[in-house]
Amino acid sequence: MKKTVARIGDRRLPLSNLDKDLYPSFGFTKAHILEYYRRISPHILPHLHGRALTLKRYPDGAQAPFFFEKRCPGYRPDWVKTAQVRESDGGLMTVCLVNDLDTLMWVENLASLELHVPLARAATPGTPDSMVFDLDPGEGADILDCARVAFMLRDVLSDLKLTCFPKTSGKKGLHVYVPLNRNETTFDETRKFSKTVAEVLQHNYPLMVTSSMSNELRKKKVFINWSQNGASNTTVCVYSLRASEKPTVSSPVTWQELETLAGHGDPAKVQFIFSEVIDRTEKDGDLFKDLLTIKQKLPYL
């Protein structure tokens, strides 16, 4: 195994297999991945901060088998911050917190292309900072259909005086986030609220929307996955790379931009790769930063 030792601040981090091509059809190596995360770190770190990271590791590349690792590996350097979280069976589990660049680099050296985090911070596991609607196109539907549903969601939520922010999933769908940032809102509440919204949309547009998991019922429709709003669920973090053919990123978009992009009628236009995301953040900063600060209360519960 080829090793290189990187110096970050006063720490030395051994990096391995830097020239390994993890997106073979694109020619994107582990060195490129580390470089992408290094450059995006000012924007991604606030969204990872304090959250139990689920590693989704692709040691043989984005098209090869992957594995999830919720537990923070025992061979971690002693400076990696961790937290204890309670598992569904009651036991305690040690998880990694990616609070700084060094940890981000260490995690990426493990080929964890994708970074998945829960909606709540490890210190306050019962109260999510945001609510998410994961819009996933079924067979025969695409990201443009997701955009149509996202606009409806935006309009309905705006009638309820709720602000929301869209991002691409980096794969085929869109995620719509509603900032909460109040320590009182529980997962029970976000679940109940998001489920009701999904069902009302399905009721009114049954040919376009489904809130059912069943693959059969999802054909040609957009599945509004509200059940991501759970204490043990994780969603791909904003700015995370995705394991697909190209190094796509789960990227924030403004509503106006989404309307323009979707208006072209080409699903490929509503997709961003790493270099576009770097350029965008250099120009506009983090379009998702308000997600971390806007305080909102879910009404009518």
């Binding site: 309009d155 309905v156 009638d159 609220f193 009701t196 009302v200 009721h203 009114n204 049954p206 009518y300």
Partner: protein, 261 residues
């Protein structure tokens, strides 16, 4: 083109077993219509219906039965069907290689393709290349769904094409159809040969287009320009549950949304 596999297993000859998937080689090229209810243009779907209870029967309540007497059935499960030839339901075993054009096309039923599964690419490539060079095709039997098929595995443009064959007892004899004896008048035949040679060409399937499809598409185009399409009613399948006030507010907001559309 992403083709859905309809079966996975192995294709084997002697000791070599290649992991493969079966995909369809024929797709509906027809213009597909949707049946609607005349009164309100609600789309219809084809369902299995119980005439006694007058209700739709979900697929998990449906079983397969063989009629042994009036309204008397023997139920046969998928597992029981697979048990009939357990060695053939996940494996296509080539028992014979034959000359490619040895099979009378009257035996051909439906074509499929076999594509290699993970780590089967090399052995698949070898079988294709060997069959191409020797101009051979394989004969095999395998069980798929309710039936056991006799199949021909041949090479088409670098791919393994699997054609299901009819069994010999399904082929009707042509003896009643044939002419009694060789009776061609040579002059007539010579004149025909001349015309036939003049009309010789290479087969180009794209040359023969589906006229009916073309006409339907043009009819639809004309109609779409002349008249607005009808709209199916939008009715949810279930009334949403959830906090009453929230549902009411959301419904009101949906109503507004539809009005501005």
């Amino acid at each position: 083109m992403a083709l859905q596999s309809i079966w996975t297993g192995t294709i084997s000859f002697s000791l070599v077993a290649i992991p493969v998937q079966l995909v369809k080689a024929v797709l509906p090229g027809r213009v597909s219509f949707r049946m609607l209810h005349a009164k309100d243009y609600s789309p219809l779907s084809r369902e299995m219906f119980c005439p006694d209870e007058e209700k739709i029967v979900p697929s998990d309540e449906i079983v397969r039965g063989f009629e042994i007497g009036p309204e008397k059935y023997i139920v046969v499960t998928d597992e029981e069907l697979e048990s009939l030839s357990p060695e053939r339901s996940r494996s296509i075993e080539i028992v014979d290689f034959i000359d490619s054009d040895d099979v009378d096309p009257v035996y051909y039923d439906r074509p499929y393709y076999l594509v290699p599964s993970k780590s089967g690419e090399k052995a698949y490539g070898l079988l294709v290349e060997v069959m191409r060079r020797t101009n051979k095709a394989g004969i095999a039997k395998f069980v798929f769904g309710e039936r056991e098929y006799l199949v021909l595995v041949r090479v088409t443009s670098g791919a393994l094409c699997l054609v299901t064959l009819h069994y010999s007892d399904e082929i009707l004899s042509d003896t009643g159809v044939a002419t009694e004896k060789e009776g061609a008048v040579s002059e007539e035949k010579d004149r025909m040969v001349k015309t036939i040679r003049d009309m010789k060409a290479a087969f180009k399937p794209e040359k023969y287009t589906n006229e009916r499809k073309r006409k339907i598409v043009s009819l639809l185009g004309k109609k779409a320009k002349k008249q607005a399409p009808v709209e199916a009613p939008v009715i949810g399948e279930e009334t949403p549950e959830g906090p009453g006030d929230l549902v009411a507010v959301l419904q009101e907001s949906m109503r507004k949304l539809k009005a501005t559309k």
